[in-house]
Symmetry: C2
């Protein structure tokens, strides 16, 4: 975590009008604009997205909005961590000039009834256990991009399926923005950074460290010519041996269009290993490239 300067300052917009006024002003000055949508509870993963945006554009806007439409009843909408003051300090220190913090009434006023859906890419993996999720994500990201009108927007590869859904939506709807992926940022033991890691007890946190090692092993086995069904079976056994017994999914899929791969050895096209597990109150996801397509 970078040091937080006591004098960090960042402009805050809470309405579409104030967001657009600032972005339009930058545009009039011929400055390019990068955008990083977040749900807050920021960690080093988010800050790497800000840094990536800052490396590609003259100004960076980050949004913080815990989007109710991507949570199903019973999921963790109410308990999702919120830490606005700290988030604003982190954004300022990471090189973000404008924080956009709309509330739900700004995003979903009375009468709201439009949705965006990306059909095939939203199926399987996280779309299986969270059927509301990608519709909610596509709709809110479509809105945020239309509100902020950036030149580029940066999304983390930890939510790799989400990244592909957003890229497809932008291409299919001809939205005038470039979507950029950024590599996963990991803790010392390799656990992918996630706001939901905060849900873990010390013991659960320790166990969770095995997730990334197992999917890296599966990816290496596949790279070495193992059959997909064999490698995934070994992976499941390794997760269970590490005490990670509540497996939502462990799969090998195309890194381009998420087509399921196997059961035999991979044929050579870019592939990725995807996993989701439940640990205590958290549902954790991670993914690992097979072979040379690592960011």
């Amino acid at each position: 975590m970078p040091p937080i300067g006591a004098d960090s300052q960042i402009e805050v917009a809470r309405s579409i009008e104030s967001l657009r006024a600032r972005v339009d002003g930058w545009r009039a000055d011929k400055l390019t604009v990068g955008f990083v949508p977040t749900m807050g509870a920021l960690h080093r993963g988010h800050l790497s997205l800000i840094a990536k945006a800052a490396s590609l554009a003259d100004r960076v806007v980050a949004s913080i909005f815990v989007n109710p439409k991507q949570f199903a009843p019973g999921e963790d909408l109410a308990s999702y961590p919120r830490q606005e003051a700290r988030d604003l300090e982190l954004l300022a220190s990471a090189g973000c000039q404008l924080a956009y913090l709309p509330d739900a009434a700004v995003m979903y006023p009375p009468g709201f009834q439009t949705s965006v859906a990306v059909a095939e890419l939203s199926k399987g993996l996280c779309g299986e256990s969270r059927p509301h999720f990608f519709g909610g994500v596509a709709t809110v990201v479509c809105k945020l991009l239309n509100q902020a009108r950036p030149d580029i927007a940066v999304f983390g590869e930890k939510d790799f399926q989400q990244l592909l859904v957003i890229k497809r939506m932008v291409r299919d709807l001809d939205m005038p923005v470039e979507i950029v992926g950024a590599p996963i940022v990991r803790e010392a033991d390799g656990l992918a950074m996630s706001s939901r890691n905060a849900y873990l007890s010390a013991e659960e946190r320790k166990r969770a460290g095995a997730l990334n090692r197992v999917i890296a092993d599966v990816a290496r086995d596949l790279e070495n010519g193992a059959r997909v069904d064999t490698a995934l079976r070994s992976g499941r056994a390794a997760l269970e041996a590490a005490g990670l017994t509540k497996i939502d999914y462990l799969e090998a899929r195309s890194a381009e269009n998420l087509t399921p791969l196997g059961p035999g050895p991979l044929a050579g096209a870019p592939a990725r290993v995807f996993a989701a597990i439940f640990v205590g109150k958290a549902r954790l996801i991670d993914n690992w490239p097979v072979g040379g397509d690592r960011g």
Copy 2:
């Protein structure tokens, strides 16, 4: 129909890139851009939309694209009238500077899988007998608006439900464009102009003229305090007496959100009478305002 000048000239773009190059050039010159999406087979109704756009913006783009996604199997996609050369002359004569004619491969390249849906407004009326229709319309209009990026876009009130669906989509997705409605243009006997009127035989065409008179009568009855159920019953009887026996729907609904009205007298909020009938090979729609909300 205005006279068509033999020297009418209009620029034609068939790719998103050439469309955007022209529009961006106008924008660099501080010119505003109006947009009129059509399916071609242009008539005076379309030309009134061009004139409206020309009155509100410095430059006018019209698109011609017979959108396969808004036709269901068995509907008239294959037989829908196409007359490109004549349409281009008409657009030029009406004050349109750029015609955008993408083909299906430009609009829906391989892998396309995104859709936009406007939930409540797409139900009932035309959404009942054409369940694919408004999803197809919302998706293609979202794309066309993102491709052309106009300041305003003009839609006819003949497709009143479509106009409300598009307005809602633009508002809900925060698209940076203003949607403008334009009044229905009618033939001498009041029949609403439609490309599908070309499907009618001489005898069917004559019969079809009763549609607008009947819905105008229903609207006047409602304005005078008649019960909705009574007025609609009289309307159905009048349609049948005029030989228009294949009635898809005849309804009174809110002109703001399409809520069904009745069975008693109207309470005062803006209302509209909506009808769809089948005549020969054509399905014709029309609508009429109750009281003072006539455009």
